[in-house]
């Protein structure tokens, strides 16, 4: 085998960090200082990005569509908030608690997504999310019900950095958690384990036929994603100092799906890119026209799909070959 040494690189090359990624993350991590007046929105973007990243693990890599991902987000949020309120205010411990509870919930719920079509999964996950919301509503002695959970006081991060009104600590905290989980997620999907997930995504029947324990893999992926979503929820609760039923709402699940799909599924950066684009655009448009900004967001989505993600960022390809594509091979 003459080429023995060069071939494995094909597999490994895709996993290597590129220079622009490093620059990107360096910029991100310094942004709370560089753009200090936007720290709050940076914080929110980081949280949404993390949430979308967690969805990408199941949607992009195993093909499970979920409209109930907010269940785990909400679980993380409420448990982190309750933990801070009732036990201790340290953010990192609270984060761990949020992740842990969401992971457990994910493991429990994973039995519901093992079978069925896209549509069934969509609805089952949605149902789970809504039921949790109803539960949080009914358990008002614990959760504060529809008014939201008040009186959450967060301690300083690492015992030193207080969460400031301008949101710099919050932004930095969320970005760091995002980065750490991103790195982990990247390891995860680039591993043999991740490859088996993609295989399941592409062809479940064959995946079974080569000895992949499909249900178990899906359950693990779903649980891991749930944990990451829990982290995002916990970050939201901690950096905003409260939790409301809204964290379980259907629109959270729907929004995060939008965000992810905008950025593109299955490459982990989709969530980050989507969160950045969607949130900034929403912020920008709703400042200009608080009443009708949804129209322009809608228009953006429509154009994005019609023109295509790749071509949208390359305007010079807009005119040209589109016509000839008429009978292009269907794939």
């Amino acid at each position: 085998m003459t080429t023995a040494t060069s071939k494995p690189n094909i597999l490994l090359a895709a996993r290597r960090w590129r220079w622009w990624e490093i620059v990107l993350w360096a910029l991100a991590l310094t942004s709370p200082w560089l753009l200090s007046s936007h720290a709050l929105i940076i914080n929110e973007i980081a949280i949404v990005a993390l949430f979308a990243l967690s969805l990408d693990i199941i949607l992009g890599y195993t093909g499970i569509v979920s409209l109930g991902h907010a269940a785990f987000f909400g679980m993380g949020a409420y448990s982190a908030a309750l933990f801070a309120k009732l036990v201790m205010p340290d953010p990192l411990v609270g984060l761990a608690v949020g992740v842990a509870t969401a992971t457990v919930l994910g493991a429990v719920c994973s039995v519901t997504i093992l079978r069925g079509t896209d549509l069934t999964r969509l609805m089952v996950t949605l149902g789970v999310g809504l039921i949790l919301m109803e539960l949080a509503n009914k358990l008002d002695w614990l959760t504060g019900g529809a008014d939201g959970l008040q009186g959450v006081v967060m301690g300083p991060l690492l015992g030193r950095f207080e969460f400031d009104l301008a949101g710099q600590t919050a932004a930095w905290y969320s970005l760091t958690v995002l980065l750490i989980l991103f790195v982990l997620a990247r390891r995860f999907v680039g591993s043999p384990f991740g490859a088996t997930l993609k295989a399941i995504h592409d062809n479940r029947l064959r995946a079974m036929a080569i000895g992949i324990p499909v249900s178990q893999r899906l359950a693990v992926a779903y649980t891991v994603a749930a944990g990451a979503a829990g982290a995002a929820g916990a970050l939201l609760a901690q950096t905003s100092g409260f939790a409301s039923l809204d964290v379980f709402e259907f629109h959270r699940s729907a929004d995060v799906m939008l965000v992810l799909v905008i950025g593109g599924v299955g490459w982990l950066y989709g969530g980050v890119a989507g969160a950045l684009v969607f949130k900034l655009m929403q912020d920008f448009l709703s400042n200009i026209t608080p009443q009708y900004w949804t129209f322009w967001i809608g228009l953006f989505l429509v154009v994005l799909v019609l023109v295509g993600r790749e071509r949208l960022v390359r305007p010079w390809t807009w005119f040209g070959s589109a016509k000839k594509n008429k009978t292009g091979g269907a794939a």
């Binding site: 085998m1 490994l12 993609k198 036929a209 080569i210």
Partner: protein
């Protein structure tokens, strides 16, 4: 390649009284079949006779309505498909079942990793293991896939996809291999070679082959079973089968047909 399948060889895989009903259709009707260790066993029969269904039953894609399946002495009737694979029983599909968004290289690396017990590892990168990559390269060469190893599987020409289909099965290093029309779509010139590769698997690997190309079947098999309408018609060595008038009538057709195939 005919002789030494002694009757003494142990039975590796045994189907006992399998019945499979789809609604009103009985696709498999009380079929019993023994696959001996090291056998090169062919399963033939008209279209719709229930050959694929039998493989689906053996591999656990379908659950039999009745009957038992014994693999190396153990009842595996209720095991999940992937558990049967772990016990060494691997199949190919009549209609390609591939991983469309992975490249052949990724596909094989994934399969080999899974087979070597690394499938659950999530902290190391796919392809960082030397044993895995070397095995992959070997398979790619063997199946003439090296030139297309980095393309997405879904854009490959049919023939290449077919090769990959078989390569995946072999990557699992099966002890019992079930092949469902493996060379369909492979050009005549490459069929022999492909089947040689399969036949050249270690002598203790047991192989069950479904194939309609009689030249290949007769050059490959040392034992044959004929299935008709879900029922076992006859079993015997290739010579017996070739001359069996019943088999000729329902399956082989006239000698002219043979001619059409071979020229």
């Amino acid at each position: 390649m005919s002789n030494p399948t002694s009757n003494a060889a142990a039975t590796v895989l045994s189907a006992q009284g399998l019945v499979m009903k789809f609604g009103g259709i009985t696709a498999t009707n009380n079929v019993s079949l023994d696959l001996k260790q090291g056998a090169r066993h062919a399963l033939i029969g008209p279209n719709g006779a229930g050959k694929t269904t039998l493989i689906n039953l053996l591999t656990g894609v379908l659950q039999p309505t009745e009957g038992k399946i014994i693999l190396e002495g153990q009842d595996i009737t209720n095991l999940a498909p992937h558990q049967r694979v772990r016990r060494g029983m691997v199949r190919t599909f009549q209609i390609n079942q591939l991983f469309d968004t992975l490249s052949p290289m990724e596909t094989l690396a994934m399969v080999v990793s899974q087979h070597q017990g690394l499938g659950g590892k999530w902290w190391q990168a796919l392809g960082s293991n030397r044993r895995v990559t070397e095995r992959c390269e070997q398979l790619l060469e063997q199946f003439h896939l090296t030139s297309v190893m980095a393309q997405e599987t879904r854009v490959l020409a049919y023939g290449k996809r077919r090769l990959l289909e078989i390569a995946i099965a072999l990557a699992c290093e099966p002890r019992v291999l079930l092949l469902d029309e493996p060379v369909a779509g492979v050009p005549a010139g490459e069929r022999e070679e492909l089947l040689q590769t399969v036949a050249a698997l270690p002598a203790d690997v047991s192989i069950l082959l479904i194939e309609h190309d009689m030249d290949l079947v007769f050059s490959f098999a040392n034992r044959m079973t004929v299935l008709v309408n879900g029922t076992l018609l006859t079993e015997g060595d290739p010579e017996q089968i070739a001359n069996d008038p019943q088999v000729k009538a329902v399956y082989l057709g006239h000698a002219e047909g043979e001619e059409a195939h071979h020229g």
